[in-house]
Amino acid sequence: MLLGELEKQVLEYLWKHQPADAKQVHSHFEKNRGGSLNTIQSTLDRLFKKDLLSRAKSSHAFQYFPKVKRHELIGQLIKDVTYDFIVEDENSVITAFSSISSDLDEQQLNKLELMIEQQRKKLQKNSDT
């Protein structure tokens, strides 16, 4: 799923002001960036087709609201991007600072920390003498 700049802006607007119909969204964007009602309607429709928005008919217009919260969408993207690491590292195309495994041992980490501290002291001692 790829999003265009306007799609992202519409989604950001709906995260703050939901639910809203095409006219309400258009009146907001008309002031800020211009564009016709048709453009907004098709953008809302695209976002609906991409499964990012839900809609419900209210009198003659659709009321749109986001299907997922902002932090949920970003969390899902992080999860997807890093998923290869979890299941199959050979297919991974990202590199990360650190990660953990389920068998991570706190004691082992403390031991490593102690080792760093000892070396730090040794270095300090050497520089003092």
Binding site: L2, S92, F97, L112
Partner: protein, 322 residues
């Protein structure tokens, strides 16, 4: 059945495929027997050696194909070698033969690997583009993403960027954050995501055990390289090691929270964190790149592959007459 130039081309491709398989087996055996010794080399040498292993079957296959081509076979200079190995009837190619079958299997497998790897790029690229769209550019190639998950990673193949979450910024000090960002910038400057992808493509031709080990060794080497990319002295090494431990503990704390359990990176086992810390603290002298040994091994592998292709050809043709 076809004759002349096209037949020669198809026969040479078959030679290439056979040589590739033979070279792959021998390169895997060499790698497996020296895998532990790779730790005696510096990170950059280790990376070069790993690249050499995955490139070896391709290079050897090309050399063997050239050897069986008229370029070599028609010259009297290499008579002793052409007596040793030669390809029968290179100007005739049977489509209904083991020659075309082996070619087809190789092409089909290559297409499968290529499609799989391209699909990884396609899906990853879409997700990375979305994260870029929702992120805020902190500085060139550093993007802040609003998420409570403490995370930092580099993504994007041709135009890599590093992504730092607000959750990480809130839970680390300025110095620690700088270390993490520098680590990620090192990945960006090295084009590690692209190299990792290409490496995984080349290693896909090895058996599962070899493939997994090659990938994890390359991942570890890339991380170790990024760890010490900006490090100038022992004190800085210790700071990177401390940050690594702190971040790992932070990630472990989040794994308890069911909401974030699946979002955690688990590509590195405890063992590799340990190896990275030990590498940062280590000041031992590493062995230089074994140029002589590498050249001798490659030459021997080319020679073994040439004779093996000839013997294999004879053996199969004795069993099935095409």
């Amino acid at each position: 059945m076809i004759y002349d130039q096209w037949a020669l081309t198809f026969n040479l491709l078959t030679v290439g495929v056979l040589a590739f398989v033979v070279a792959n087996i021998f390169a895997s055996s060499v790698f497996w027997s020296i895998k532990e010794k790779l730790a005696d080399y510096s990170v950059s040498t280790r990376k070069s050696l790993l690249w050499l292993f995955v490139f070896a079957p391709w290079f050897i296959a090309l050399s063997v194909t050239l050897f069986f081509s008229p370029l070599f076979q028609d010259h009297s200079t290499f008579t002793w070698l052409t007596d040793l190995a030669h390809w029968h009837h290179p100007d005739i190619f049977y489509f209904l033969s083991w020659h075309s079958f082996s070619l087809l299997v190789f092409v089909a497998f290559s297409l499968y690997v290529f499609t799989k790897k391209m699909s990884v790029i396609y899906h990853n690229n879409k997700k990375i583009s979305m994260l870029r769209l929702f992120g805020i550019e902190r500085c060139k190639q550093v993007i802040i993403i609003e998420s409570p998950i403490p995370t930092a990673f580099t993504g994007g193949l041709l135009n890599p960027s590093c992504f730092i979450s607000t959750g990480l910024i809130e839970q680390t000090s300025t110095v620690e954050l700088e270390i993490i960002i520098q680590h990620e910038i090192a990945h960006v400057r090295n084009y590690d995501p692209l190299k990792k992808w290409f490496f995984s493509f080349l290693s896909a031709y090895f058996t599962n055990d070899v493939k997994s080990l090659l990938s994890s060794m390359m991942s570890l080497s890339m991380e170790q390289d990024a760890d010490s990319f900006f490090v100038k002295n022992q004190q800085q090494s210790q700071n990177v090691a401390t940050t690594l431990i702190k971040f790992t503990k932070l990630a472990a704390k989040y794994s308890i929270h069911p909401q974030y359990k699946s979002e955690l990176f688990v590509h590195f086992c405890r063992h590799s964190i340990e190896q990275r810390v030990l590498h940062l603290l280590n000041d031992k002298k590493f062995k230089p790149f074994p140029k002589g040994t590498a050249l001798i091994v490659i030459f021997l592998l080319v020679l073994i592959s040439i004779t093996s292709v000839d013997s294999l050809h004879h053996a199969i043709e004795t069993l099935f007459t095409h």
